[in-house]
């Protein structure tokens, strides 16, 4: 039986799709059959980040409307075995997502997958509510910045009141904080909220801290999930987050300012 994980944030542009792609890929790399679903109807982007934009034939809404089967719409990743993407439609309006429709699709997927990652759209409208409604766990992506933290708290409120688990009084959705675009140098200078500041305010367990990294843009330019860039700190930090998601204890890295060694300074290494 699959675990449904929503990647959400409230605010846009904080790294939901980057995170969905990275975490989904990381889970599949470790042998778990995983599908990442783009819930952003009308603004499809997961396909670009995953590098499968030219292979989209049918989409999520086609499946919901019975115009295509799930097998027709799912795109199998060419790099990682056991990894699939279900793209959002680019044209239709958000009303295409109905609770019953989404439930039917998720139930069918549950039979065949270990993990279903729901990449939520920004905002708190229907699309975002649909993405989180059936979730077992939630990864709340947050930047160390006031508006992002406030919106994350708002989305936590929705998870705690408007998810299926909240409505039926089942065990609450398991919440994880993922702090992205973290810059230890600026935190040290007192210019950026620290991990503990954000943890204190949101009061949910930390899953990972992704350092601000040039590799993220490079990866999205190429349509390669950043977790596959093993040289990049962001890729390594996502790998740590995936391990923690699977219940393994991993020490936090990249939270402190890196001290340049004598040789590195001499050679002008970055």
């Amino acid at each position: 039986m699959a675990k449904i994980i929503v990647v959400t944030s409230g605010k846009g542009g904080v790294g939901k799709t980057t995170t969905s792609a990275a975490i989904g890929t990381g889970l599949a790399q470790r042998g778990h059959k995983t599908i990442i679903i783009d819930f952003d109807v009308g603004l499809r982007n997961l396909d670009l980040i995953m590098g499968c934009e030219r292979r989209v034939v049918y989409d999520f809404v086609n499946v919901l409307n019975g115009e295509a089967s799930l097998t027709q719409a799912m795109i199998k990743d060419k790099r990682i075995d056991k990894l699939f993407v279900l793209p959002a439609s680019q044209t239709r309006d958000k009303d295409a997502l109905t609770q019953e429709g989404v439930q039917t699709v998720l139930n069918e997927l549950k039979e065949n997958f270990d993990f279903i990652i729901c990449d939520s759209p920004a905002g708190i409208e229907k699309g975002a509510q649909m993405a989180l409604y059936y979730a077992d766990e939630a990864i709340v992506v947050t930047n160390p910045e006031v508006s992002s933290v406030r919106d994350s708290d708002r989305i936590l409120g929705i998870l705690q009141s408007k998810s299926l688990r909240a409505e039926t009084g089942a065990e609450p959705v398991k919440e994880h904080l993922l702090l992205t675009r973290y810059n230890p140098v600026r935190v040290d200078a007192g210019e950026m909220l620290s991990v503990s500041d954000v943890e204190d305010i949101l009061a949910i367990p930390l899953l990972g801290v992704i350092p601000e990294s040039e590799a993220v843009l490079k990866a999205s330019n190429q349509g390669v999930p950043v977790i596959l860039d093993e040289q990049a700190l962001a890729g390594q930090a996502y790998n740590d987050a995936v391990e923690r998601l699977l219940g393994n204890e991993v020490e936090y890295r990249f939270l402190e300012v890196e001290k340049k060694g004598f040789l590195k300074r001499l050679l002008g290494g970055k």
Binding site: D153, R154, A189, G190, L193
Partner: protein, 83 residues
């Protein structure tokens, strides 16, 4: 610029601290509102109507709030009477 200013090292403003403090206040406020029952705004309106029969007050002079503690909920009613 005097010579003393030269020696005085300006303490840089830690804007992150300001951000944290502002967030703590607004998030706490929004959480308390979120937990309030749906009937509260309507009840507040009706209480206002009753009081208006006797005293001339405005909407913003009355506040209704529910505070939950571990074993009980307290309904707090605050009315500012005009001078």
């Amino acid at each position: 610029m005097g010579i003393f200013n030269y020696f005085r090292k300006d303490e840089p403003v830690k804007t992150a601290t300001t951000a944290r403090d502002r967030l703590q206040v607004i998030v706490a406020h929004e959480r308390s509102q979120r937990r309030q029952p749906d009937y509260l705004p309507k009840m507040q309106q009706e209480i206002l109507e009753v009081i208006k029969k006797y005293i001339n007050i405005e909407q913003d002079q009355i506040s209704v709030q529910v505070d939950d503690t571990d074993d009980c909920s307290v309904l707090e009613l605050n009315i500012t009477l005009p001078e």
